[in-house]
Amino acid sequence: MEPVLNLRMVSFKYKGEWVLKDIHLRTFEGEIVGVIGPNGSGKSTLLKVMDGVLKPQEGDILLKSRPIGSLARAEVAKEIAMVAQENYFRFAFSVLEVVLMGRFPHLRRLQFEGERDKDIALNALKATHALHLSNRSIHEISGGEKQRVLLARALAQEPGVVLLDEPTSFLDLKHKREVFRLISSLSTDRKLAVVLVSHDIDLIAQYCGRIVMMKDGIIAFQGPPEVVLTPESIEKIYDCPVFVDINPATGKPRVSLRG
């Protein structure tokens, strides 16, 4: 199978220091890749390089076999959607208006959203269980609801790849589970390649087919959760003692702090 997004020997530095070094990463349709690692290990930078916000000094990034740097911004936005960690809306757009923003790359400059765009937006809201919010103001909804609305906006772009930067960081246990289940079913139903950065190792282990473990700008380990989530690998990248067993409910690795 051809990778949707293909990073080959990608390195990136901000000023003098390399933040990403020799990154090899391929994403495929219907697969969820979970990126974990300590703070400052380059996870968010990796996402920014993948969506084209930051341009790597070395290596290349292919979006469906075409170099991402050669594409117009709107062309990239039709293929890659990002749900960023921080989102704020200065002015009170309605939820439907926010989701319709996802149609921007598909519209010409003076073109208004038509019936088809509206259907796509409403379908996206339905898929993220947020249809009932569509007339509310983006200022009036809760953190969990907002996350679902932003996910709906990403779906409205009709992308092949969805990148998520800590989508569950401000959510409680129930809403964390909800977001992961949602991402999982969307990835399957819509054949999306998903890359998500998160600190919730157990949830990543449960829902991701592949885990990328980062430390100091390099990918230290990469593989299925059962293979890479070992006490040795986790201790190496987080520098703290852990205990790994199997979650009896899911059969997936479970990571606990050892004292």
Partner: protein
């Protein structure tokens, strides 16, 4: 709120319909303003004027065509321009306190005008030219100091504006303190917005410039929508962020510079009209730009009509009226409807 329950996406026909209603309103207010003033013009005289049966030497002809009409047109164009500028600056800077004067283009124009009055230039050509030169110089300053190599960043642009404002205010005070008493009145009136010197000539220049600016900004309305949600978000959704910012900033700065060169510094209208429009019609710039601009024109004509009649036969600078009426009305709206700004 009625607008928030609208489930349909915005359509072009809705924009046209709402704009048409505003235009109707505008022509109603403008024609009423023609009849109101120190010398009352009766309906029968107006009818005679329109149908061409009024004698050529009737003073009403002079009052309506030579005095009131250019003034009303300038008021309308100034309100249109200042409100549109306010909408765009609030979006570009993502700052609800932004108004068209925030980047100091107006202070540059004001300094040019005050210098012009100081040197005894005329109101027909000399002073507006000086004012526009001041505005152009300021735009140049903002773009060279405020814009970095990495692009235009709103906080550095804002800071540059604050400093430019402070600097020109100092220069203006310097020249005011040296001015002869006979010129002081003209200076103060200019600084508060004075439409009494309006002639047809400048309007022929101003009107097409504003129309062109509106058309260009309207073409960037969707980009502005996304920019209010943050530059990163806009970029990720496909907006050419740097180009959009550059184009919009330049258009609005030049437009505001030209407007205040003829109208003086009419405050408040560019701050409150965009907010009122946003509270009424929502945050989409495709509807916001026409409603705020046309609403600003209506508001300004009404305010200027008050300014020239309230202490008749004397006149007030129109800026006094806009601030005096605008501030309490704005507080009322804020209290009763809640602002449409972010609460976080």
């Amino acid at each position: 709120m009625a607008e928030m329950t609208r489930k349909e996406p915005l359509t072009l026909s809705r924009v046209i319909w709402v704009s048409a209603i505003f235009c109707l309103c505008l022509s109603g207010v403008a024609s009423s303003a023609l009849m109101i003033g120190t010398a009352e013009v009766s309906l029968s005289k107006m009818a005679a004027l329109v149908t061409g049966t009024l004698p050529a030497d009737d003073p009403v002809r002079l009052i309506v065509f030579k005095i009131r009409l250019p003034r009303i047109l300038l008021a309308g164009l100034a309100g249109f321009s200042l409100s549109m500028g306010g909408v765009v600056f609030q979006a570009l800077l993502r700052n609800p306190l932004a108004d068209p004067f925030i980047l100091g283009v107006s202070s540059g124009a004001a300094f040019g005008a005050i210098l012009g009055i100081f040197l005894g230039f005329t109101f027909s050509l000399g002073i507006p030219s000086m004012a526009f030169a001041g505005a152009l110089f300021t735009v140049y300053l903002i773009l060279t100091i405020g814009a970095k190599r990495s692009g235009i960043e709103s906080s550095s642009i804002l800071l540059t504006g604050v400093i430019i404002n402070a600097f020109f205010t100092a220069l203006i005070m310097f020249f005011i303190s040296f001015a002869a008493d006979s010129r002081l009145h003209a200076m103060l009136y200019w600084l508060y917005g004075d439409l009494s010197q309006s002639r047809f000539g400048p309007l022929i220049l101003l009107a097409p410039v504003l129309f062109f600016a509106f058309a260009l900004l309207f073409a960037y309305a969707k980009d502005l929508n996304l920019l209010t949600a943050g530059e990163d978000t806009a970029f990720l959704l496909g907006v050419d962020v740097e180009r959009a910012k550059r184009v919009c900033l330049l258009i609005v700065s030049l437009m505001i510079g030209l407007t205040v060169s003829f109208s003086g510094l009419i405050g408040f209208v560019g701050l409150i009209i965009p907010h009122i429009a946003r509270m009424t019609f929502g945050a989409d710039h495709r509807l916001l730009l026409p409603t705020a601009s046309l609403g600003g024109a209506v508001f300004m004509i009404a305010a200027d009509t008050l300014a020239r009649t309230i202490i008749s036969p004397s006149e007030l600078p129109v800026g006094v009226i806009t601030a005096f009426m605008g501030a309490p009305f704005f507080i009322y709206l804020l209290k009763s409807r809640g602002s449409q700004w972010s609460r976080s």
